[in-house]
Symmetry: C2
Subunit: 435 residues, 2 copies
């Protein structure tokens, strides 16, 4: 089998076991590939951050720039959010440099592209990657967090970046991406098809597309759950971000469950990969169950899970509604089937929650001090459903992955309610002398 | 002299040396007080985060919640921003949980209020603090980053929070604060006076006001520079956030200069305190010069520095213009004179930069992958002025403190420029087959 510089099989297909030297999708069954690391000698690092897990990554840590700032996000024990006795920890991914977990994958993707390393064959993307020239630019198909993240990391590394967005992108989204100076191409046509078109075009155009479930992105994004597991293993999970004074120690050494939003399935796949690798390394005797949550308005993975299907079926336009959790509304998730497999394999589930439940959860997260985008609030809404269904028990430690902070302007902060007083009336308004 | 539980004099006045058991301003000279720690036995911790420096803080680390997530922000070596040979490092404070350095001070202020600790006499605020009841709420006078930060930390800790805002606050700002559920009071009158009114009212109303330069806030916010110095001392400054592979080692063990925006003077005072304490601890042989930057439109501290004055003079309404760096436009900075003293004492300067220079610097930071609010971009604009004036030399290592990420909607992201192509035309647009 072909092996990279790090001594492990470069890419494999989780579904059929096929190994490949390059590309992003399995030449045999079409499912997404990932890097098949050799974690046997892996031991927990003493700190967080994407590159703290470099032994399990297909790229080397850059010496400067934004890349190495990815990850090392706080893990917050939030008793105020406990769900009928289930103990809640929040992994606050919005504190990444561009505000979402996407920075983890972008850091690895851009580092690999810059290095044009023999061990990172996946970077060129596309089935024809092996024969193509080394990339001269990175690219992505996104008009949200991933687009901003890729543009920022490419800018920091001094490499060109091409972002393919839908023709009708809003001015606000466009501005957020444009700030980092990438080449932005509005594409008029079926935006869903672009994911696949980009994989085909990338190698010939010299653009390394790091899309939502590219092997490099999945490798970087597995560090979200690696950090969670490391913190629990180190007994830091009662603390926050590794810095506080430990609270009462968790009942178990490891979390009982991890709850994440699922969109493309890339991050969900990465969570599964993290659990598989640490189990193989002998560091995880009792792996957490993995739960993935969608918005009911667009829930192809949850639908497949509920039906007991083996694969996710693409939703058509008339089967999808609007949702406040727009950033995870993906009707045709390229790693959806892999996410489905991950949930089943890890003893969890894929579920859907409605917009009312998402809005309530989002308000409750803010009332506990954590501002997150609606997509991230699906995790708390999902946990509440799981408690109702007794799929999570009282006393269990559950980690909610709050994937991003969002960027305002979505009018869901709650109607601001404030009294007005004259300066002279402030003493009375604050109740001085009342008691 | 009165000492707290930690064995150090609780509060002192930097200007006249007066010690005090409580209060926020010196009963003799009116200048702001700060906690006078005993750093002789202090040694560098092995990691970042506000509570990693607990030996120098007037509060204990909470065991859960948002507090312990404050700090531990990345320090990014950014060669693309080097200023005519001066080597730039950026301390990216926007990755704090609510998006600014204010979380450091809020974490300490709220923790102290919750603990109502004998060692935290400063918490009750106001000259009459010593006789007042223990606070039942925290408060702040702010309609920006500090308001959101205090509201979030209070929400997480389960303590009431009162935010005093100007009557004409914008809906966007109000929503950002209201998301965390504090009591918001719009005050109709002279907003500048509120800072002092709040200190007077706080103790009687049972509200611990943690304003921009309160002793508790300054204590928490000194960890910004403590983290910078720790990273340099540990040889991590060529890395990013402590995780990367070291670049070429810095020419000096410590940074040559630190550049920060200055508004109230609270953060600037905290930087000075960090340098004083680590020098007293024998950890800093060659302290960095401290430079503080204002927007020309409202620059009372820079004006006083330029005139060689001993104190800052309050600007009247007709002496102030609008600026893109609105979050640091403070015409009457309560710790302005202390900041002035800090710059002189630390061999630095206070300077002003115009809005064009700020806009350019902000665009350049984004083009290096770092999105920051305009106030933070004054640091890069300021460094460029300092290089022109030869106050910073080529080869020197300079840390820019990018204080906050900002929250969009300020229309300064740069006009988005994007081509549109039909899906069928994408291959040609990406240049496939051109070569």
């Amino acid at each position: 089998m072909p092996t990279g510089d790090r001594g492990w099989t470069v890419l494999t297909c989780y579904a059929c076991g096929r190994a490949a030297e390059s590309g992003q999708r399995c030449p045999d069954c079409g499912e997404p590939l990932w890097f098949d690391t050799d974690p046997v000698d892996f031991a927990w690092p003493d700190r967080d951050g994407v590159w703290a897990f470099a032994d399990l990554l297909p790229a080397e840590a850059p010496g400067s720039g934004l890349a190495a700032a990815a990850g090392a996000t706080p893990l917050i024990r939030a008793p105020g959010l406990d769900a009928d006795g289930a103990r809640v920890h929040v992994k606050l991914e919005g504190t990444n440099p561009t505000g979402s977990f996407k920075d983890r994958g972008s850091a690895v993707g851009v580092a690999a592209a810059v290095a044009r390393d023999a061990g990172t064959a996946g970077v060129a993307g596309g089935e024809r990657g092996g024969e193509a020239e080394a990339p001269t630019a990175v690219g992505t198909v996104s008009h949200g967090n991933m687009a901003a993240s890729m543009a920022a990391h490419a800018a920091s590394a001094g490499i060109d970046c091409v972002v393919l967005v839908p023709a009708d992108i809003s001015a606000g989204r466009l501005d957020r991406i444009a700030a980092y100076g990438p080449r932005i191409v509005r594409v008029d046509g079926d935006y869903g098809r672009l994911y696949y078109d980009a994989l085909d075009l990338g190698p010939e155009a010299g653009i390394a597309f790091v899309n939502s479930d590219s092997p490099l992105r999945v490798a970087g994004q597995k560090t979200t759950v690696l950090e969670v597991l490391r913190a629990f293993a180190a007994g830091e999970a009662g603390e926050v971000g590794g810095h506080g004074t430990p609270e009462a120690a968790p009942s178990s050494a490891m979390p009982d469950a991890v709850v994440m939003p699922v969109s493309s399935g890339g991050h969900a796949s990465a969570a599964w990969k993290a659990v598989r690798e640490t189990t193989a390394a002998g560091l995880l005797d009792d792996p957490p169950r993995l739960y993935f949550v969608q918005a009911s308005a667009c829930a192809p993975v949850a639908d497949a899970f509920a039906r007991g299907d083996d694969a996710v079926t693409r939703l058509e336009a008339d089967e999808v509604d609007e949702t406040v959790a727009y950033s995870i509304a993906n009707p045709d998730p390229p790693s959806g089937t892999r996410a489905l497999r991950a949930a089943r394999n890890a003893g969890g589930a894929v579920l859907a929650v409605d917009d009312d439940a998402i809005r309530t959860a989002r308000r409750d997260l803010a009332a506990a001090g954590m501002r997150v985008e609606a997509a991230s609030a699906t995790t708390l809404a999902g946990l509440r459903r799981l408690r109702e269904r007794d799929e999570v028990d009282a006393g269990e430690h559950v980690v909610l992955v709050a994937t991003g902070v969002g960027y305002g302007g979505d009018g869901d902060a709650g109607a601001a309610d404030a009294e007005t007083v004259a300066l002279e009336g402030l003493t009375a308004a604050l109740g001085v002398g009342d008691e």
